[in-house]
């Protein structure tokens, strides 16, 4: 080990600064709280810089930073929120109390407002929401997502499949497009 520890902050920030929006956006989707998202991003950057020496040059820096944030989120930030009501009970979603009737366009139309999509995404458990964002928003490959979440690639596939299925159910219910397919309040939706 070298006794001389170089100031690598500039080198680090050159790689890390362009990822900050993506990281913060994801942190917001995960925590749904601005203050917590800020803390999570800040802690992730400081931790990443601390371990910057372990980053293998030439590998995917963005995925590396996401992995650090994901670990932190599951290890520490989940602890913080334990005991709080994280997810709106599914019954509320299914009974339509969350879907603001004024915000809807014609029920028959499939156009969805951004707020509705956001709300639907919020209803997903974190284990589904995160792979979906990593895949669809940030366009990470399955392998990269598996590395970020530190799980087998099969788990990534299954979570994405189930996440989309659940999204579809929630969105359909919000739009009230198909009465026959809309589960009644209290019905358990298999996933």
């Amino acid at each position: 080990m070298s006794l001389w520890k170089k100031d690598r902050s500039k080198e680090f920030m050159a790689l890390a600064a362009p990822v900050m929006d993506a990281l913060y956006g994801t942190a917001m989707k995960l925590t749904r709280n601005e203050e917590t998202a800020r803390d999570l991003v800040q802690d992730s950057y400081l931790k990443a810089y601390k371990y910057f020496d372990t980053f293998e040059a030439g590998t995917n820096f963005k995925a590396w930073l996401f992995r650090i944030m994901t670990r932190l989120f599951y290890d520490e930030y989940n602890e913080r929120k334990r005991g709080q009501e994280i997810f709106t009970p599914l019954d509320d979603v299914l009974s339509g109390t969350l879907a603001d009737p004024d915000a809807r366009s014609n029920a028959g139309e499939r156009r969805l407002l951004a707020a509705e999509i956001q709300r639907a995404l919020d209803q997903l458990p974190e284990d589904f929401r995160l792979p979906l964002i990593l895949c669809d928003v940030h366009e990470f490959s399955y392998q990269e997502i598996a590395d970020i979440l530190e799980c087998p690639i099969g788990t990534v596939m299954s979570r994405l499949f189930r996440a989309r299925k659940r999204m579809k159910e929630i969105l359909l219910n919000m739009n009230g497009t198909d009465e026959a397919q809309t589960p009644h309040a209290g019905q358990i939706i298999p996933f």
Binding site: V41, Y45, L46, Y49, L132, V137, M157, M167, L171
Partner: protein, 311 residues
């Protein structure tokens, strides 16, 4: 390809994770199946909706704050590096001087008396620094350095873990990743990690004095594979890392209880400023690092439990 297979592969298809041959088959089926066409369109639509979901951008003040913190952290680490260099250089200089002074006794030149019958020339007296009562101040330092020569210096070198290694161990102890196996049964844990890593050494048995095994995970130590074990002793965590002893060149070997009793704790235990203790030693070819924020007795008992194991 039938509807069932199509449904299974649809997610992979829209994510571009499917082989070309499978993609062709899937497209062929979708074209002739109304149900699968509907599923396909829905899947694309949902992906597209998520893709277009508005993502919040990092606030400018957060960006600035992080930039400042990283820059400050960079300066600190550099200063720390310089400090370490300076400390190393100072120790080296003193050691060299100490060695020199020891092997080449210093010639002390006493000023000649101002008056008297003595000849007008300086009195020359040769003396070893450790015995001289009027030695030069630097000789006094070298006198102290003498205590740190030989075996003591090599002991110090062994017991001091590099700060980054120490820091990593503490982080893994304080904020470990979730265990991959969770059971109080040490045999199950042993079987589990043997299958993963090829370590056949049993895990430390701490139950006789109140240490409860909580589980373990595969981890890294100095960038090599290691087993990380979690114990709970009266509500305090004890983390034990097991790894190949030959990973660390000058690791303190403690292969028996007799050897443990002859070895000073200072040789293998590091205390951290945060009040934690980190032990590093090898036993029967397995390297162990024990980290605890419990008291020194817990550390002693854990080390003893490890060393008393024969395998």
């Amino acid at each position: 390809m039938d509807c069932r297979e199509t449904e299974k592969l649809l997610t992979l298809y829209i994510d571009g994770e499917i082989s070309k041959a499978d993609a062709r088959e899937l497209e062929g089926h979708v074209k002739q199946c109304r149900r699968c066409t509907a599923l396909f369109e829905e899947a694309i639509e949902i992906k597209d909706l998520v893709r277009r979901i508005p993502m919040e951008k990092a606030p400018a003040d957060l960006r600035r704050q992080i930039e400042l913190q990283i820059a400050a952290s960079g300066r600190r680490s550099q200063a720390f590096g310089v400090l370490r260099w300076s400390a190393a250089a100072a120790v080296l200089a003193l050691a060299v001087y100490g060695g020199y002074a020891w092997f080449f006794p210093r010639t002390v030149v006493k000023p000649a008396p101002m008056a008297g019958p003595q000849p007008q020339m300086a009195a020359v007296e040769t003396t070893a620094p450790s015995m001289a009562s009027d030695v030069h101040p630097v000789s006094a330092v070298s006198n102290r350095m003498e205590k740190f020569s030989g075996s003591t210096l090599s002991r110090l070198r062994k017991r001091t873990l590099p700060p980054t290694v120490l820091e990593n161990l503490i982080v893994e102890h304080v904020r470990p990743l979730p265990p991959e196996i969770q059971t109080p049964d040490t045999d199950s844990v042993a079987r589990w990690y043997a299958s993963k890593s090829g370590f056949y050494a049993p895990p430390p048995q701490l139950a006789s004095w109140g240490g409860r095994m909580e589980g373990g995970r595969m981890s890294r130590f100095q960038d090599r594979e290691a087993v990380q074990l979690f114990y709970n002793v009266n509500g305090k965590r004890v983390t034990v890392f097991m790894f190949r002893a030959d990973m660390i060149e000058d690791i303190v070997k403690i292969d028996s209880i007799e050897q443990l009793e002859k070895t000073s704790e200072e040789e293998y235990v590091n205390a951290t400023p945060g009040g934690r203790m980190v032990a590093l030693f090898s036993h029967s070819g397995i390297g162990y690092s024990v980290i605890t924020d419990a008291d020194a007795d817990v550390m002693r008992q854990t080390v003893r439990a490890i060393v008393s194991q024969t395998f």
